[in-house]
Amino acid sequence: MKFAFALLAGLLGPAAAYGQADSSSEGLLNLSLESLLDTEVSSVLKHASGLADAPAAVTVLRREDIERLGATTLPDLLRVVPGLAVAQVDGNKWAIGSRGFNGFFGSKLLVLIDGRSIYNSTFAGVFWDAYDIPFDNIARIEVIRGPAGVLWGSNAVNGVINIVTRSAQETQGGRVEVGAGNVERHLADLRYGAESTGAAWRVYARSRDRDEQKSAVGVAPGDTTRAERVGFRADSNHPGPTAWMLTGDAYQGRSGGAPYPQPTTDDLHGEHLLGRLTHRLSSDSSLQFQAYYDHGWRKDLAVGSVLDEKVLDLDLLHDIQASPSHRLTWGTGWRQYRFDSDGSAKLAFVPSSRITTVSNLFVQDEWSLLPRELVVVGGLRAENLPDHGLQWQPNLRVAWTPTSRHTLWAASGKAVRAPNKVDTALRYCGPLGTSSACLPGGGGAPPAYGNPDFLPERVVSLEAGWRTRLSAHLSSDFAIYENRYRRLETIEIAPTFTNLTYYNHAKGTTQGLEWALDWQAADTWQLRGGITLYKERLVFAELPAQPSPIISFHDSFPNRQAFLRSLWDVAPNHRLDVTLRGAGPLWHRGVPGYGTADVRWTWRYDKGLQFSLIGRNLGGPEHRELGDQPFFQETVLRRELVGLVTVTF
C-alpha cells in the first residue's frame, strides 16, 4: 500500500496548480455568441471512464468504447475494465471475475442485462454463449466493483456488471451487419426500428457460427459455436408521468467443447420477456415496477444430462426526494427459480428439481451533508434465502468533492454469496461418469457431491478511491480495497471417504489496486490505460479432517494486469484502434502470463456504409488463460481476423 500513497502524493502536487485556469473562463462569458462560435477550441477528454462523483469504483463502457474495442464477443469487451479478469476457457466459455476468485463457476460477480439477472443460480456463473446480444443493442456497460448487495442483492459479492440496452428511440431505421473471418465463419445482424404515436420499437435477429480454437493437448478441439437469436424492444414515447418498456428475445444454439475425454458439446435454447413501468407520482417521487420471465435450457449431448431453469422476478422500486438533502430509495423484490434437471451417469442433481423463492426488502438514503461537497450514502438490504433465512447486507459510502475536479470516496459493506445447486445438490461422477462410488466397480477419481449443509459465503470490504480531472485532457480513477472473507468454499474428501464435497472451511483476505487513466493526447487521439494489482491470502479456518483439501478459486486471479488503448481518428472517415493487454501468470495452475494486441480499423465510406477489419490476439504466443476446469478441457485461443460490412438505412 505504500506504493499507492506515493502515487497519490505524486499526483496531487501538479493537480493543485490546474485550479488557476478559472480566471480566463469568466472572460469567455462576456464574449458574444458569434465570437464564441468562432473560437478555436482544443479538444478535451471526450469521456472519462468513471462516473465523476459516484462513491464507488465504477467503470462505464460507452458506445464509442464498445464500438472501438475490436471485440467480437461480449466478454471480450470487459477486458479493459480495471479490477476485472476475463479468461477465455474455450470458443464459447469464459470466466469473468472481479477482485479475485475467477472461474467458470466464479460465483461472486453478478451480471444483469436491463435489470435482469443472467447469473445462473444453478451453478453461480454466467453461460455467456446464451447471452450473445448484438453490440448494436448496447447503450453502455456499467461495472461496479466491490460489494453492491444493497441495491443488487445476493451474489453481488465482488461486483456487478450492468448491461444497459439502447431505447427503441435510439435504434430507428434499418441496419445490416455481416462479417466473416478465419474463426468467425459467419456473423449476420439485422435490425429494424420504427416509431409511431405512443411507442417506438425495434426488432433484431442474429445468426452466428464460429470455428473451433486450438487444442492444448493435441486432440480435435471441437469448440465450435453456433447460435441464432431474435429479439425486440419497445418503449413508450408519449410525454407524461407514465412510461413503459417491453423487451424480449429467444435463442437456440450449439456450443461445442473439447473432448474431456467424451465430447462436452451442449445444445441450448431459451427465451425471456421483461416489462418495466415507470410512474412519476409527484415531482419528487417516482415508482418503478419491473417483471420478467427468463427460461434457459441446455443439454449435454454426449451423456444426455439436461439443466433447465425458469426464473420469474418481480421488483418494485420507489425513489423519493424526501427533503432537499435526503434522497431515499427503497424497494422490494420477489424471485422464484424453478430448477429441473435430467441426470446422467456423469452429472446429476439431488434433488433433480426444486423450486426456490428469494425475497428482499432494501432501503438506501443519500444524504447531502454539504450540498455538492459531502454526501453520505447508507443502505441496508434484508434478503430471505431458502434454507438460510434472513441475510443482512449493509453498506456505507462517503464521497467528498472538494472541487469539481476531485472526488475522494470511501466505502464499507457486507455481502453474501448464496449457495447454488452445485454446492448443495451436485452428483458429479467424473468426466466419464465412472467414478467408483457412482458405478460399482468403476475407478478413477472420487466423485464430487454437493453438501446440503453448505452455508452462504460472506465478505466484509473496505475500499477507497480518488477520481480526478487533472486537466481538461487527463483524468485519473484510482481505487484500493481490502476484502475479508469468511466461510469460503473448500473442496474436501467427505468423512465417508467415498466422495469429494463442499465445505465452508476457509477464510481469507484479498487486497488490490485499480488505476485507470484517460488522456486526450491530441484532437484525434485518445489514450486509455489501466492497471490491476491483486494479492490474496486464503487459509483454512479449521483443520481439515481429511488430507489434501482445496480452497475453491484460489490463485485464479492474476496478480497483475495492464492494458493500453489507443483510439486514433486517422482521417475523418478512418479510425485505427489498438489495444495492448496483458496478464500475469497463474503459477499454481501452470498458466503462464501473456501479452497480446487487438487491432481494429474502420473506414466509413459514407453515412450508411462502413467497413471494419478486426484482428484479435495478434501479438505474443498463442496462450491459455485459465487452466482446466472441473468439467471442461481448456483450448488455446487462435489469432483471429474478421472483416465486417455495416449498412444503415
Binding site: 473562463s25 462569458l29 482544443s42 478535451v44
Partner: protein
Amino acid sequence: MAPWLRLLVFAGCLLGLASEVWCAVPESEVRAAIVVNFIHYVEWPDGPPPTADIRICIAGHGSTADALLGFNGKAIHGRRVWVERAPAASVIGNCRMLFVGELSNRSPIDWLREVAGQPVLTVSEGEDFLPNGGIISLNRSGSRITFDVNLLAMRRSNLRIGSQLLRLARDVHGK
C-alpha cells in the same frame, strides 16, 4: 501527474505534438459559455424581464456540465446566472434551462420527459438529443463548436427563439 508524464508532455510540446492540446482555450469552457449565451436569444412565455436573474439546472455530469457549474453566480452582460446540479424533479420546472450532461445515470429521454410541455430550454451534446425531443444540441465541427436547433420541440415547450440564433445554428430541424 507523475514527473515522468509531465516530462513527456513537455517533450511533446517542444516537438509540436501536443502544443495545441495543452495551450488553446479549453473546449468545455467555450461550450459552457455558448450555452449560457443562449439565454439572450430565448423568450419564455411568462416573459421574465431580460435583466432578471436566470436559473440553469444541470442533469448528469461531464466536462461541459462541470464548466457550467463554474459559472454559478457570475454575471453575463449584466444578468446573473445561477447554476445548480441534479435538481429534484419538483424544481426542474422552475429552471429556465436544463442542460443534460453527457454522463448521466438516466437516458436523456428520461430527463426530457420530466420537463415535457414545460417552458424549459433543453440543451445537451451529441447526436441522440434532438431526435428524442431536445431543443438545442452542441456539436463540434473541426476546431469550432456548432449547434443544432429542433424547432418542433421548441414550439412544444412554448418557447420562442430569436431568428438571430437560428441564423447562427448549423442545422435547424422541424422548420
